[in-house]
Symmetry: C2
Subunit: 142 residues, 2 copies
Amino acid sequence: MRALILHANKFATKVVKKSNKPGNIVSEKVNEFENEMDECIVAFFTVEKPDSENEIEKLYNEIIKASNETDTKNIMISPFVHLSNNIAEPKKAIQFYENIMSKFKNTNYIVNSSPFGYHKSLLLDIKGHPTSFRYREFNNDR
Amino acid sequence: MRALILHANKFATKVVKKSNKPGNIVSEKVNEFENEMDECIVAFFTVEKPDSENEIEKLYNEIIKASNETDTKNIMISPFVHLSNNIAEPKKAIQFYENIMSKFKNTNYIVNSSPFGYHKSLLLDIKGHPTSFRYREFNNDR
């Protein structure tokens, strides 16, 4: 799993159309075609073929760390297929996404997400302080 | 080398402070502390330890391809250290950045760049069509 965890002034996304690649992708059912969040941690993550559920825990911990260090309770979870060439099957990727979302249930974080399986426009306004960009690779052996 | 090549409505960046990691980083001398470009191809790229100059050519070709396919002559080159954990030494990274910039000399492209070696804020407004996000890994053996 790879992730880009950002400290943002603003995140906004708008669904353009359903993805049709890979062929077996099933887009998440969504009611909201626009998503927006201010003053937030944005977690883009790419699920890779060898990932186990351990990587979900590692991603969760890194998001919490970024949240704590920046005193930011708003969290935008964004499944993102553009950080690796070794991406997991869509069925696994959506399951990991649901699992990461469920870890935030019954917590004090304000969590939103960017829908899975769509082409979307993206507006990002990222702060420039030294820890506003964090790149992470999570592997079974690390 | 890894790259994220985006088709954007807008790119804007503002220098916040010099980077001090790795310890031997030397920030580019800049006169402009703010950079902005509309309707452009944005190429974020991370130079990695094993990269040879072949990777510069591959990155250049991918940028040209994205430019042609989207009919976009404005190009924003952005050295970016957040796409890999196996990053090259700063001296190599800045040299590759200068080399990629020099490949655009005497071409018809309108090229700008985001300064090397600084913490910067970043505003990105990315279109949502199917090829507005392209992730690439360039290696010696591919």
